[in-house]
Amino acid sequence: MTRARRIDRGPGCPFERGAQVEFRFEGRTVQGYEGEPLAAALLANGVQVFGRSIKYHRPRGPSCMLGHCSGCLLRVDGVPNVRSCEHACRSGIAVERQRGWPSARTDLFRTVDWVYGRRLDHHEMFTASAAINRLAMRFVRRMSGFGDPPSADPPAAARLERFEAEVVVIGAGAAGMHAALALAGEHRKVTVFEADPRPGGRLLDGACRIGRDGGAERGWAHLAGIEEQLRDCEGVELRPGTPVLAVYQGERGHEVLASNRGETCVVDAARIVVATGAHGQIPLFENDDLPGIFSLRGLDRLLLGWGVLPAQPVLVAGGAPAVDLAVELVERGVETGLLTDLEDARIAELEKRQVTVVRGQRIIRALGAKWIDRVELGPEGSQTPELVLDCGLLAAGLADAPAYELAHHAGCRVEFHSESGYRVVGDERGRSSNAHVFTAGHCAGAPDVERAIESGTRAGMACALSLGEDPDLARRLDARCAADG
């Protein structure tokens, strides 16, 4: 296993970062780039354990790189539980790990994990007497908990703003941006909220770029084009870095609550387009929570977006998106293996280049003390390993789970599909079960970026139609839907 290093990000990278800066990590001085995610900077410095889990004190590290999971929580400038994959690296910040005794890196409470090898049922522990229970609770709170309370002064209350919007689009990914474009084309006033500081969603991640023949830059170039169109639109306001926290059903439509570091707003929205995308997932296998295991999108973002390679060799597992990522890593000179059931010309090409390609196997367990160093593979359903691979970094492919939550707030119907999870139910025009809420993209089950774009355009058109009759628009929308056959 080689040490962490930085790799070339390639031309046209849409993730901006500033000059090299220094900051403090538990008393050490370490380097990072201004504006890159703190988690990426620490991984580039060889930090492997970011914290400890709540019950078994198992090591934790970043895994989604998109603000979805809880693996990268750190204490930053005296504030606990900061998601370091979302927190920008700045000069002079002081970063510490939380939880773990004597330290998160070497934590004696890990013994709980070893003593209770299968599982620890805490429901009836220390319940014999109230006094013992009180004592046990004090101890457990101390060793679990969510770090220590903030030592920094709390900031002043955020500015709270309330305004009305004709349409709120939640999510500026492929679907959300095209919904906003379609709405702007019908002269509707649109506010677009995006949780990530960088709009683009899946268009930012190489593995999910449009077409599969370009390389990460192709998706990035396409994104730049859409962004330019959006900037030229009258009536579209884009608010990146501002996650929507809740959707409430109000008397006059819906209220959308969104917030960023400086400002919180409540928007009275006549219509909502939910285009929230999907959450990265990791398949279930033994030790699936070991640091060094990432979702496909998470590893894509870390390696190609931020140019940080924590360890080699990289094993990429999954279907077409995994093959995309493996090809790009090999092109960049990263030692890569591929675990897939697919057969195509690109995989044959990889094999010619001495890349290890394994077929017909599943991951049974990951091995490693504080970071992954090997994986055991075996046939589907088997628990007996047939093959052991060295692995310094694992991207385990599983379909992302649609982000149905905000549509669920608004009372929209959702339904379950085994291959990905709960998704928002919408018809071919993006109409949900709530007449004021439309849905598009991956949260509504669009399987790829191209269909996410089409569904976004349709949802935008249908949303505009619901705000006022327009026979010409209705005809255009009918034609688009009829094209499906």
């Binding site: 709540i54 019950k55 078994y56 198992r58 895994s63 603000g67 979805h68 999971c69 809880s70 693996g71 929580l73 539980n81 994990d113 090898g117 299968r118 599982r119 049922d121 709390p154 900031p155 002043a156 209350a157 955020a158 500015r159 709270l160 703003e161 309330r162 949780a195 926290l245 809740a246 409430y248 008397e251 917030s259 570091r261 919180t264 409540v266 009275d268 959450h279 990265g280 997932q281 990791i282 279930l284 296998f285 033994e286 030790n287 699936d288 929570d289 367990r365 789970a401 982000a403 149905y404 939550e405 905000l406 669920h408 707030h409 959702v414 379950f416 599909h417 085994s418 999870g421 709960y422």
Partner: protein, 97 residues
Amino acid sequence: MAKTIVCRCEDVCIEDLKLGFEQGLRELEELKRHTGLATGFCQGKCCIAHAARFLARLKGGDDMVADPPRTRPLLHPTPVYRLAGELEAEPEGDGEP
């Protein structure tokens, strides 16, 4: 035997779900209340789909899995100071909050 962790935030492993099912828990809501699944920092973004798949397999199909547990605001952990400000302007005709 090493653990297979389903919910990383609350350290819920697959054995917890299996035991819950053996004890008669058949709905996601019940598994959630029993194990603490989906109640941690990420609020289920990484585990709800896994748990629902687990139930679908044991109950014999996707349509046997009910709606997910109620999704409660707020979607992301949010410091209180962000919600502590006063609204600058209330739109006209607004009743009780």
